[in-house]
């Protein structure tokens, strides 16, 4: 029996017309909501060398965690080795540096990979990191079929927003679908793509654009995987989403509710999915980093709490709360702890987890949900027209003609002008500004990491069998020339020779080319 704080008994949901757990899932995926399973409090971590982050992982597991979430550094995310000229100043700074299988072995040393789930936030080189993770597991006697977790592997939003691309869109989507095919066949516990609106919103989009661009990318992956020969119900249950929790409370809640309804109706009606799991929009949420202010940073604790509450009332499956000092630097341990405590307060003190979709049926919330759906529908129509009836081709066209980046930049500029003109108030920035004179205590990362990582990389390059590396890389380039060959097996072969991430990327670049964005303001 669940009761309110004052002892009033509570049902698991209220209202009879539309129920949670029923198609089209506007009110939630499950009728029992957070009563049967609280959202996962998955906090993102990574810094320095693989050994540094491995220490943090062990500490998290000792504290009772069962899920790991890996942040990679900028060179790793961009498919460049730590000794690449552009890596200077970036090694181990915003995440962990991974150049070869040796780093991945150190990153997960002493961790039973069949007992934890791991999330890896990486896109351009996702297939390479996935291959390294499989190779580490199999070296320790854990089969790939026993691995559970998520790899972000959402390349389309990189061209639209986050800009961490390597190859042009079409060969990149081939790598995504190769990974979807590979996991569908061999890794039933793995989520091969996390379709992400988070970065679209951070780059400046509106809530409706975040919703529409993200789901359009999802439809594009569905079409690509079906075109590669998969049945929609073979892979759709393993797709998941990642949204932003921004500051406009009811707009955000409407966005999450609309996302579930749109995904379910499109998957059923347009793509013919029949497995109910294929219709369910499962999502992770992170509070809006871009809403955090450098001025009076403690105010961000309040912003994060309200954003987190919107994600919970919107029915998120997992949540990362930002630390209050992240407008200034990577979070300190204390700031990260307050962020986690904020989730725990929402979960255990507010009662927000007691009843599923507690705002469902409120006229404004239902209207906002409908309005989000309507606005997203207009954007889908445009993308569908761009692609002449194909969402995949429409997304490619929108990337090529600058539609997505233009829409996002327009929205970002409109917002800044409104703030600048005082039509929007940002507390502590353009109003209520007294009290911003305290210097915050910030985390800084020294240069030792870079030197250490360069030595490790040089040693691996020296100790490995160079002929085996060259043979594996040549085989990978040959496979890349044949569009029907799944590239996961030759990438796994290459990482096992201790070929570097940069070398594997280069072997693919000779066939795929390199993407260079047309700079448009």
């Amino acid at each position: 029996m669940v009761e309110s704080l004052s002892g009033i008994p509570l049902d698991s949901f209220y209202g009879d017309e539309l129920r949670p757990g029923e198609y089209p899932y506007t009110r939630g995926l499950y009728s029992t909501g957070y009563r049967s399973k609280l959202w996962t409090m998955r906090m993102f971590a990574g810094f320095g060398t693989a050994t540094d982050t491995n220490g943090r992982f062990h500490a998290l597991l000792r504290a009772g965690g069962t899920g790991l979430s890996t942040a990679f550094d900028m060179p790793t995310l961009m498919g460049r080795d730590s000794d690449h000229e552009w890596a200077i100043g970036e090694v181990g700074r915003a995440g962990v540096a991974v150049d070869t299988l040796a780093d991945m072995e150190d990153l997960f040393a002493g961790i039973e990979l069949d007992k934890v789930t791991t999330s890896m936030t990486i896109n351009g080189p996702a297939a390479i990191c996935m291959a390294m993770y499989i190779a580490v597991a199999e070296k320790s006697g854990v089969g790939r079929g026993d691995l559970g977790g998520t790899i972000q592997n959402d390349i389309l939003k990189e061209y639209q927003a986050q800009k961490e691309y390597i190859f042009p869109p079409r060969p990149s989507v081939r790598l995504v679908t190769d990974l979807i095919r590979f996991t569908a066949a061999e890794m039933p516990r793995w989520h091969p793509v996390s379709i992400s609106g988070y970065h679209i919103r951070e780059a400046g989009s509106t809530a409706a654009q975040e919703l529409a661009f993200t789901l359009a990318n999802g439809f594009a992956y569905v079409e690509a995987a079906v075109a590669a020969g998969l049945d929609v119900d073979d892979f759709a249950p393993r797709l998941s989403f990642f949204f932003n929790a921004h500051s406009d409370f009811f707009e955000e809640i409407g966005k999450y509710r609309a996302a579930r309804r749109i995904w379910a109706t499109w998957m059923k009606n347009r793509y013919g999915a029949t497995n109910p799991k294929s219709l369910m929009c499962r999502f992770h949420t992170q509070t809006a980093g871009v809403s955090l202010t450098a001025q009076q940073p403690e105010n961000n604790i309040a912003r994060v709490a309200i954003q987190a509450l919107s994600a919970v009332l919107g029915g998120t499956q997992s949540l990362h709360t930002d630390s209050y000092d992240e407008a200034l630097a990577l979070p300190t341990e204390k700031a990260a702890r307050i962020a986690l405590r904020t989730q725990q307060i929402v979960a255990h003190e507010t009662g927000a987890a007691s009843v599923v979709d507690p705002l469902g049926g409120a006229p404004f919330v239902e209207w906002m949900t409908d309005e989000m759906e309507r606005r997203a529908g207009e954007i889908f129509d445009h993308i569908d027209q761009l692609g002449h009836g194909s969402m995949l081709e429409g997304v490619y066209a929108g990337i090529e003609d600058g539609y997505f980046v233009g829409e996002i930049a327009d929205a970002a500029y409109r917002f800044e002008r409104e703030v600048n003109a005082g039509r929007r108030i940002i507390v502590g920035v353009n109003e209520f500004t007294e009290g911003d004179d305290e210097e915050a205590n910030l985390l800084s990362i020294g240069h030792d990491t870079e030197e250490l990582q360069l030595k490790r990389l040089a040693k691996v390059r020296n100790d490995r069998d160079g002929d085996a590396v060259n043979t594996a890389l040549a085989a990978l380039s040959t496979a890349a020339e044949q569009p029907d060959v799944n590239l996961m097996p030759p990438i796994i072969d290459a990482v096992r020779t201790y070929a570097t991430e940069g070398e594997i990327v280069a072997a693919l670049e000779t066939v795929f080319g390199t993407y260079i964005e047309t700079a448009v303001v």
Binding site: M74, P75, L77, M78, R80, W86, A87, I88, G89, E90, R93, A94, Q162, K163, E164, E202, A203, G204, V290, T293, A294, Q295, A327, L328, A329, L330, A409, A412, Y413, E416, R417, N420, I426, V429, N430, E439, L442, S444, I445, I516, E517, A519, V520, V521
Partner: protein
């Protein structure tokens, strides 16, 4: 239109770029539109630029000032390299930094030769006047 007779009143020509791997371009795009709306000529190079490509653009475009946007904590490494590259090319072009720079690093960047550091939350007017101060003249209105 600027007055062709009068060099001092021609629009300020500003090269805007992201140096290295950092892909956060929201702020730089907003700055580009802000400076353009204030009457400056904006040469927007965008992402993944090197010190060489930025210097080359300055020479080619006869730029008055460089604006660099930094969001990945690489400023202490990259800013001195940029200033050095400009000096080595024999250019007299100030470098203005924007983005996420902790307050205690600002004096260091000025010491390294940055003309100004514009922090998060700066208003459009503050951005425009920092660029005007760096080139020591107002831009001509278009």
């Amino acid at each position: 239109m600027s007055d062709p007779c009068c060099e001092a009143e021609s629009p300020i020509r500003v090269v805007l770029a992201k140096l290295g791997l950092d892909g956060h371009d929201r702020g730089l795009k907003v700055v580009a539109r802000t400076l353009r709306d204030a009457g400056m000529e904006v040469i927007y190079l965008g992402l993944r630029q090197s010190t060489d490509s930025i210097v080359a653009a300055c020479e080619q475009e006869d730029a008055d000032v460089i604006g660099l946007s930094m969001h990945n904590a690489g400023h202490l490494t990259l800013v001195p390299r940029m200033v050095q590259a400009v000096d080595q090319a024999g250019l007299d072009v100030p470098v203005v930094i924007g983005g996420i720079v902790p307050a205690h690093d600002v004096p260091t960047l000025i010491e390294f030769g940055a003309a100004a550091v514009i922090g998060p939350g700066a208003s459009a007017e503050e951005v425009v006047s920092a660029v005007e101060a760096a080139v020591a003249r107002p831009t001509a209105a278009r």
